[in-house]
Symmetry: D4
Subunit: 170 residues, 8 copies
């Protein structure tokens, strides 16, 4: 799943146990041929490293940060407060609160430091990558074209399922 | 509050009763000198107009759509399914569910059609505009510089409040 | 489970993964001898097809649409905004929010575009079909008679369970 | 607000304190020229009267029952268990639970006894009447025509608000 | 588990699938030597039988009704509205709402018709029986004595667990 | 509002700010001519007094304890763990959690120590007193007769409201 | 309200709009004669200052940090990750989520970085100060004595309210 | 896992079924070489023993009480009301309410009796012990040094995971 391309999207997770929920995100970036890097950074256990990473991201060519975190889930907001590039937060599922804690901790950022929140779990992970694609497509014709095809492919999949179900009940 | 600039950001609301919660969003775009347009489009009462608008947005030069809606709040998702440009959803406060209905209707988009969700209400409105600013800043040095200053100004405001409170209790 | 009758009830699902939760709905329509059709249509991935379907439903003889969807669950509301026939929404269970997201996205329709919401999951699916039966029974004596019998049969089942339990503890 | 027409729609409330939230429902039926009656019946304080009413409704020509109730909100379900005609439940706002109690008590009916649930409060009241209109429109061309006009009028209102807002920000 | 004693406590469930959650309740009544009967009665599928049962309960010597129900869970309230004897409601666990629907439907009874609500599930079932015991103990010295012993036994069980755990970590 | 009768019902509140929500409870006991006492006892601020009170209640002739508390709301459970007489808990409204905290703290008592939970706020207060009435009516013919009349009076009130509303819309 | 004592407790708020909810906390520290300082520091708008403050707190003699924050409420966790002294978090009330967002963002800290969470709002603010008192009382006999008196005074206040209410209903 | 040291931290659980969720807490205290004791005490089933224990804790040298409880979860508050030493509450997971009942019952203590609430379940258990460590570290240089190392070790673990993940996607 490795890529040689210079990373423009960064996927950061608060714990390596979040990795399985970000597989889809990685797959999307691979599919669109977008360079990316994957990191484990904890807002609470490695606060200095996380701060350094966020402050240097833009210089290193990163255009979008996808940050996944669960529970108190401060990571997306902490990164967003230390860089001016768009941050997309992916709330991870939790046991007691089913990810509502992660969601609110990411969503309820104060005025001035916006974070784009996605759905809880791996669906949110996939959509985070597709949102990064939409941002990059604004200034990259090749990506925009692929995005158009991607949307059409999804429609085709639904339509073929529709035909199958229609036949089944005809 | 009018601007002559060619709109690159679109602010769409599901009902004109949402307008007060989007004032901050407009103010941010004015402050950054970004061209914008403001529209009332209902996913349910004017579905055809909403569809037409979303499909034509990119051609007309729109780069980001900010869509505010309350309750079933389908507007951001409906627009996002008909255009490939980034859509930012702002959940409006509601009486019975305090905006949780609006939030979930915007947040829980299926895999494939991402919408960036902001906090409920006017704080979310302001941050939606600042998120649009972050997206545009990626390819516009002037906006990026202003964004850096904006972040520093916010810090200064907190620091001056800190000094005032410190003195008060010294 | 196929039927030759001209469809008057339409069962639409947002994803074919919803199909198992609609088996009961199909079984009810079969039991009452009501013509139906089953479709997969996504409000977000096939917005144009969904719109076309809703606009043409009445002309094609459809009297009631049962629409199941999960998460942002826009399908019932989107269909209801494009046709004047009664739409019954069935919220699908979801992992993070246990179907509360689906429920609120269907329930909280704005003034003017009503959708009849049923319970979450397959119980809601079964009841959606029985609600369609109630609507059709208003103008179809044969269906009305069967409905009366159906209600009496349910009572008999409870009464026989009551006898069994009473004996067990006597 | 009185009407001479033979009632085909029944509006029942669990307490006369619910009346203000049903004004919109009455207004809709008046607008569409549909005969209706308004009753106060408590599932808990007048259980026998409520039962008698439900059992006799169909005979008396009622085609749809709109039942509003708050808190434990058993009224719609109790009526629905004693008649075969479609019942539409409108959950009333409550102080402690913001109508979520009313909503769940109406929504979560067991398999076999469907109730169509609307949004909480007067928006739900209005939509309940419009849902009754949709049911009646299936077999009444005059009502169907008016419904089509009603939907177009709503679109026009949104469009004129759109024009106003567009001008304001142009 | 049968008993010959004249029933003074009635255990009613809305569906025989609730029976496992009432085993503890039966066991408590057996332990205290209290006569009881067990019934299946549905507020919605057998409304007339449920009404008849509630109205005749006092005459037949029933002093307390324990009513378990899930979802819309109208049974305890419906019984309580048709008899003057104390009703204890036990909310059953549900899949989508984890019993919160059952709980609110039982708890939020209107002024005038009280129902005593217990915890969700079989813990609530057990406590419902113990609450019936407390009511009967007010006028039955033998039951009161047993209740005192029961409370002391519970304390002894905790104390012996405490000793075991203390030793384990000493 | 004082009464000379020997108290058999005790109304205990965790804070005197709960008093207004218990007025209805007092009024009910007055109406039924039942002796009662009213106390302020805090499970947390006066734990020893609360314990002493619960332990001595039965001896002093108290048959039912109504305990109102908000927030952590330990009072009903603490009293119930120290006496064998029935305790009825009334959850008080709270600002942050709208009484859900009070409700769960009272409802979720462990197996062995039952507390009868009523609705949140003054409706729950009124019903707590009526539940005490139901318990006392089991062995007091005079109270039972008054309870029957009370239930009929409530029905009459609903019926007269029904007549008024019916006329209004006739 | 100023104090000359060397600060050992630090009260930090994320925004000066939180100040009114911390008045009680200040009053408690004044009452116990404990030195304190009050600061405004934002985890998101002044991340560097907040980090510097937390890292230097122990050296400057601070023993306990009370941190109040609302919404995403990262402040207590961010401070706790940068110092080893006990941090007490006070969730501020919010409009949409009634402080549940603030609560979960503070409560759900990952393993390794504990934060002590108090109740939402000013009650939590007061208790935060009393918790700091409890910590300091462990090694300061004078504070411990005052704490004992404080607890007795609270009991006396409840008892005198009890006497007043008892008289009122006697 | 036994220790000979004089206990300064007390771990109390409401039921021995909570023990597995406190293993981490015990492990932390062992790791830091802090003396502790483990007890089973029920606020409801052994109220007198619980009271005696809390009142005598300080005299016996206990400096911090960690109290775990589920459901109505009164234990931490009851202990905290009977001693002046810091109490840390750990809400246990529950089936119906996923620990939200336990959380609110512990969190929402009234003004005057503070309890420090941790996250739900064993993560909260571990952090409770680490919070006790932070309190003890204030006056014990050896523990403070170990705590510093513990925090650095956690950072190292994250950094090594980061290196592994980085390599994997390079």
């Amino acid at each position: 799943m490795a890529t040689k391309k210079k990373p423009v999207v960064s996927i950061v997770m608060g714990s390596d146990s979040d990795a399985p929920h970000l597989k889809d995100a990685v797959a999307v970036l691979e599919e669109f041929g977008i360079g990316y890097e994957v990191r484990v950074l904890s807002a609470h256990r490695t606060p200095d490293e996380a701060a350094r990473y966020a402050k240097g991201a833009r210089k290193r060519g990163i255009n979008v940060i996808i940050a996944a975190a669960g529970g108190a889930a401060h990571l997306p907001g902490v990164l967003g407060s230390l860089t001016g590039i768009p941050v997309i937060g992916v709330p991870m599922m939790t046991r007691a609160f089913k990810g509502i804690d992660s969601l609110l901790s990411i969503l309820q950022m104060p005025k001035g430091i916006p974070v784009a929140t996605m759905a809880v779990g791996s669906a949110g992970g996939r959509n985070a990558a597709l949102y990064a694609v939409r941002i990059l497509a604004l200034t990259d014709r090749r990506i925009e074209t692929r995005l158009g095809r991607h949307i059409k492919d999804m429609a085709q999949q639904v339509l073929s399922k529709d035909r199958r179900v229609k036949r089944q009940f005809a």
